[in-house]
């Protein structure tokens, strides 16, 4: 018989305010990361509008707090695996906008030499094994990165970002089972944005909630407001600490809505599948919290916004001037 009282329970971490000391110490960095990600993706949206982007781009505007909140607790050597909607994860992990733009524009100076594009931006040195075009596929790899860290004794952890849609891929739960059994230093971060591509999540997802599923594996499942960077960070910090100290995985479900559709240009074939409304803005929320704590978030935002806007504009201009890859490179990197 299982004693249900000893099983971890699903926790809700909502509506909480971040302490002033924490805001003071980390608010500026969160704000900068989120603003950078926002501006980066807004300019991708504009490029798409103007017909200057190729391929499929999935924007994560509105979801910045998960990326910033989780990645701000990682250190050098830790690795993340990401999704088709991964630009903010990459920005938060410290990848440079210039080389990201270059990758997405198919230029030789891109992180992957133009071979990966929007869905495959990666840089191992900076701690990102990469975005992924296959829903759920990054999750077992994060578990494996955790095993490598464990066996090599590096003290590093891995984070698996996935979407609510990915929570219906069996491999996610196979990975969680392994992670629980082997006490792998890996954190599962499931961004529940309410849509699995074009279908409302609850129409394709059984049960009371995604985080609840983790409980069946004896892993604690935490639900957190994905527009509240401080709350996300607090949960992630705890999970990362536990993972690093050998206590195994945590499953975090963050809830925030994406402002854009599934991908840019979808209007050409999808009718209206969701209502237009005001979305919660993680950036505004942080500014307000800082203002309320007497830290003048509004002023700081003006400054950061101007600096980041300049950075993004310069980065894009450089990327747009970067050379196309030599055609011979198409045949390289197949084998070691």
């Amino acid at each position: 018989m299982i004693d249900r009282r000893t099983l971890p329970s699903r926790k809700e971490q909502n509506g909480q305010m971040t302490e002033k000391v924490v805001l003071k110490e980390r608010g500026e960095s969160w704000l900068r990361t989120m603003v950078r990600g926002r501006l980066f993706e807004q300019s991708l949206g504009e490029l798409y509008e103007r017909g200057e982007l190729v391929g499929v781009v999935h924007l994560s505007i509105g979801l910045e707090a998960t990326a910033a909140g989780v990645c701000s607790n990682l250190r050098k050597g830790d690795q993340i695996t990401s999704t088709h909607r991964g630009h903010n994860h990459m920005i938060a992990r410290g990848l440079e906008p210039e080389r990201m733009f270059a990758e997405i524009l198919g230029r030789s100076t891109g992180y992957c030499g133009g071979k990966g594009g929007s869905m495959h931006v990666a840089n191992f040195e900076l701690g990102s094994v990469g975005a992924n075009g296959i829903v759920g596929a990054g999750v077992p790899m994060a578990a494996g990165l955790g095993v490598a860290a464990q066996k090599l004794g590096t003290g590093n952890v891995a984070v698996a970002f996935c979407g609510d849609g990915a929570a219906n891929q069996g491999v996610v739960w196979e990975s969680l089972n392994l992670a629980a059994l082997w006490k792998i230093p890996v954190i599962f971060v499931c961004e529940n944005n309410g849509f699995s591509e074009f279908t409302p999540t609850d129409r394709v997802t059984a049960g009371p909630g995604i985080a609840d599923r983790a409980i069946g594996y004896g892993v604690s499942g935490v639900v957190v407001d994905g527009t509240n960077v401080g709350a996300v960070s607090a949960v992630a910090e705890g999970a990362i600490d536990r993972a690093r100290s050998g206590e195994g995985p945590t499953f975090i479900e963050t809830r925030a809505e994406r402002w854009r559709g599934h991908h840019e240009g979808e209007e050409s074939y999808v009718g209206t599948y969701r209502e237009t409304k005001e979305f919660k803005d993680p950036i505004v929320q942080l500014i307000q919290e800082m203002d309320a704590a007497g830290l003048d978030g509004s002023l700081l935002y003006e400054k950061i916004h101007a600096e980041e806007k300049d950075l993004i504009e310069r980065s894009l201009a450089v990327a747009q001037q970067a050379p196309l890859p030599e055609l011979s490179t198409a045949l390289e990197d197949v084998f070691s």
Binding site: E103, T199, A330
Partner: protein, 325 residues
């Protein structure tokens, strides 16, 4: 005689074929991720007529819903699964290859798996390595799977009807860049196992599927202006291969170019080259030539992608070589 479908484009012709089969056979069901929206085209509009009971949006659980289709097929339905990009079949590979393709054989012919798996195949411009593959050779090699890869609305319509009626599992591919290719559906039924020949020619046979078949037809027009009469054999049924049609063309021309939008090694083009050489050696006037993608994944950058995939000019050039060899 009136045409059997008024569809004028490739994926709408597939949708029309599905609709016609659904109207006449209550055991036909269709499911997949966002099939109501119809992301890639072939299921667009079907939910409106048939509703969510017949046209069912699935969670992103390919191994699960493909496997469920295998079971439903054994149990008496004729399920159609839209997998979206054919690369997503890799997530469900066991159910397709190890289960669907083998069950009839392993049970000594007791069980049938009448199902269709629809997937887009090929590069449509900067979708990178996980959304650009033509996986036909994998399924041709699996054993027990029929494979169709139409390149026109006509082929798409008739082969889809034939696929739904087939008592075997069928992998049904179409090229995403041909999804809205225009074309009439003629009142001349095609069946799984058929090839389609056209234009006819006497100097060489160009064998191709999907986008390569489309480019081969364009190349044939260019070649004709240069006095080379190429016959294009659209191998729209890839498993089992339509050897009679292929060999008839080869025996007429004695020269063969096999073109493929997939990696060369173990490609459909490779199988065609080997099979033709074995079966029609005496009729060949020149070595069979293959034109395919180098053995690499498909890169993202459009310039790189384009450099790897045979173009119309590449086909013309290779055909000229074969014709003069």
């Amino acid at each position: 005689m009136s045409p059997t479908s008024t569809a004028k484009r490739l994926t709408p012709a597939m949708a029309d074929a599905i609709a016609q089969e659904m109207r006449s056979d209550p055991t036909v069901y269709l499911w997949g991720v966002d099939v109501t929206v119809g992301v890639m085209g072939p299921t667009r509009g079907l939910a409106k007529e048939f509703g969510p009971d017949k046209i069912r949006d699935c969670p992103i659980s390919e191994a699960g819903f493909v496997g469920a289709a295998v079971g439903a097929a054994i149990g008496g339905l004729r399920p159609i699964v839209d997998i979206m990009f054919s690369s997503f079949t890799y997530v469900a590979f066991d159910q397709i290859v190890n289960q669907a393709g083998r069950i009839r054989y392993m049970t000594g012919g007791q069980l049938s798996v009448p199902m269709v798996i629809i997937g887009s195949a090929g590069a449509a411009g900067a979708n990178a390595a996980q959304h650009s593959e033509v996986p036909s050779a994998l399924f041709m090699n699996a054993g027990g799977l029929r494979v169709a890869f139409p390149s026109t609305a006509h082929q798409a319509f008739w082969l889809m009807r034939s696929a739904i009626r087939s008592d075997d599992p069928v992998v049904f591919l179409f090229h995403p860049a041909l999804a809205s290719a225009r074309g009439e559906v003629r009142d001349e039924p095609l069946h799984l196992g058929d090839a389609e020949i056209g234009p006819e020619g006497t100097d060489l046979s160009i064998l191709a599927t999907g986008m390569m078949a489309t480019r081969a037809r364009a190349a044939a027009a260019v070649l004709a202006e240069r006095g080379i009469w190429a016959e294009v054999v659209d191998v729209c049924s890839l498993s089992p291969l339509p050897w009679d049609a292929i060999l008839k063309s080869v025996r007429k021309t004695g020269r063969v170019l096999a073109v493929e939008e997939a990696r060369l090694t173990c490609s459909a083009a490779s199988e065609l080259a080997a099979g033709i050489t074995e079966r029609a050696w005496a009729d060949l006037k020149a070595p069979v030539k293959r034109l395919a993608v180098p053995d690499t994944p498909i890169p993202f950058a459009p310039t790189l992608e384009e450099s790897l995939i045979p173009s119309e000019e590449d086909i013309v050039k290779a055909a000229e070589e074969v014709a003069s060899a």
